[in-house]
Amino acid sequence: MDDATRQRLFGWSHAFDHPLVKGAVIAVSVALLFAPILFWTLTATNKLNPTLRKELWARYFSWLLLVPMMFVPILLGAAWTIAAVCIMSLLCYREFARATGIFRDSITSGVVVVGILAVYFAVADNWYAFFVALTPLTIAVIAATALIRDQPKGYIQRVALGVLAFLLFGVCYGHLGFFANDQNFRSLLVWLIINVELNDIFAYIIEKKMGHRKLAPNTSPNKTLAGSIGALVLTTTLTALTGHLVFRGSGLDRVHHLIILGLLMSATGQLGDLTLSSIKRDLGIKDWAATFPGHGGLLDRFNSMLFAAPAIFHYVGYYQGIGLDQWRRIFTGG
């Protein structure tokens, strides 16, 4: 392992080198500091009804926990980032498994967990070929090991749930981890996370304030068309503006690329949210878990990242590559 790789994986001395990272950390800290003042002011002027006030405070306290969970590993280094995304993937899978009931099938569940761990090993090793190969390999192992109990009844359901879980929480979230193999992983990830999370917040605020036409009333009754379009416009604008800082001097620092990245981030973010909402409605549950008051489970908070991470990864990867100049197969050699 060379010094540059060691520095990328474990070095935190350059954590605030990029202006976007520095700016984002300051902005988020200020927002968390001033949010209570805003809540108190709105409460004093009777602009918050008790239900909304309670919900906002619950969400605020959850954000106090979520923000350090998202940003501290990124600031500490790529190894911490990959470890944190791996833990998030496993915890999200746990929520999915408990909600769908697949957790009762220890063999399938065990293979999915091993598959997810293998994905993050490939990510940490910066071994893209293995990362890609793990999709067909794990699917084959899930399908094969489901035969062990010799119980054809429910076979398709068991295998399908296992494969879906691995694709969502291993492969899709694995792309978020793979960003950490780029030299500029901090700015890329902070840009991606902030914009995807703000996309959710924009949609939430707009659907509370305007628009009555529902986007998908059977899937997500609270979402409105206005909220979706508003989030698309605001997120695209913000993503393009901040994207200029991230991709400055590269081939992606062009207006059309930045707008496409913004549209992609907002649309895939919303699709991830709707997909997981659809699964929840099918299961007849409201939240994936009760981990974060006001949010629900980890999956309720990070569902927007599911499709946004691979979509942005492959767009950026196609035009400029991710981690191509970095040491590859760090642990396995070759």
């Binding site: 408990r98 909600a99 009931g101 957790f103 220890s106």
Partner: protein, 239 residues
């Protein structure tokens, strides 16, 4: 093709501290691994440290549901009973433990749930009846297995105490097999007044044939009848 059937975890949506203390708790992969490792270690201790001998293995259940019951002299009793079950069955078997002893703090609750796979029975909160009805429903419909000590507490004298009706509430009027067992030697190995177990005390487990309480009415008289019948069966095994 049959329609897909989703069965979310019974404890879905419960915060962790409530989940660990709930009789609705369902173990995940991590808890199952923890339970399996712990069970293997305890089985090795019982076999080589305490020279456990077992009589009547042919009466052991091979499928769910069932209730394994015994006299209660020591914390070792639950491990003795669990150690004779196959690994596949053990994953679906829950020892029923006093909530006000084994689930008082979050750490204790995590250990009882994670290692013992125990479910709590709350004796002093007044919610006992409702909790037992939930457990009865789970026993029949999940299905699962329970390890239960009908005396309700460990003997302080070495002699078996009277059986409580709670055991009858679980099984009266059902065809769930109840397997009576008698454990000898655990009182000497780890009595209620000792903090740690002592090795070198031979332990003997005697397993009797399964009993059914399908003919017993599911009301107060029936519960007492079931408890009394089981008490006599275990007394016979002690001879």
């Amino acid at each position: 093709m049959d329609p897909w059937e989703y069965k979310p975890a019974r404890d879905l949506g419960m915060p962790l501290h409530k989940r660990l203390r709930s009789s609705e708790r369902e173990s995940g992969l991590l808890e199952k691994i923890g339970n399996r490792v712990w069970s293997a270690a305890i089985a090795a201790f019982l076999r080589w440290g305490e020279q456990l001998t077992v009589e009547g293995r042919e009466h052991l259940p091979t499928k769910l549901p069932f209730v394994l019951t015994a006299n209660h002299s020591s914390h070792l009793d639950v491990f003795v009973l669990a150690s004779v079950l196959t690994a596949d069955l053990r994953a679906h078997v829950f020892p029923l433990a006093a909530g006000d002893t084994f689930f008082t703090t979050p750490v204790l609750a995590a250990l009882s749930a994670g290692f013992l796979n125990a479910l709590p029975i709350w004796r002093k909160t007044g919610a006992g009846r409702h909790a037992i009805e939930e457990l009865r429903d789970r026993l029949i419909n999940e299905p699962c297995g329970f390890i239960l000590f009908p005396e309700g507490t460990r003997t302080r004298t070495g002699k078996m105490g009277p059986f409580k009706a709670g055991m009858g509430m679980l099984v009266a009027g059902t065809s769930v097999p109840v397997i009576p067992c008698h454990v000898r030697g655990t009182f000497e190995a780890w009595p209620a007044n000792a903090k740690t177990p002592k090795s070198g005390h031979p332990i003997h487990l005697r397993i009797g044939p399964a009993m059914s309480f399908a003919h017993v009415q599911n009301h107060r008289d029936g519960w007492h009848e079931a408890a009394s019948t089981l008490e006599k069966a275990i007394e016979l095994l002690s001879e």
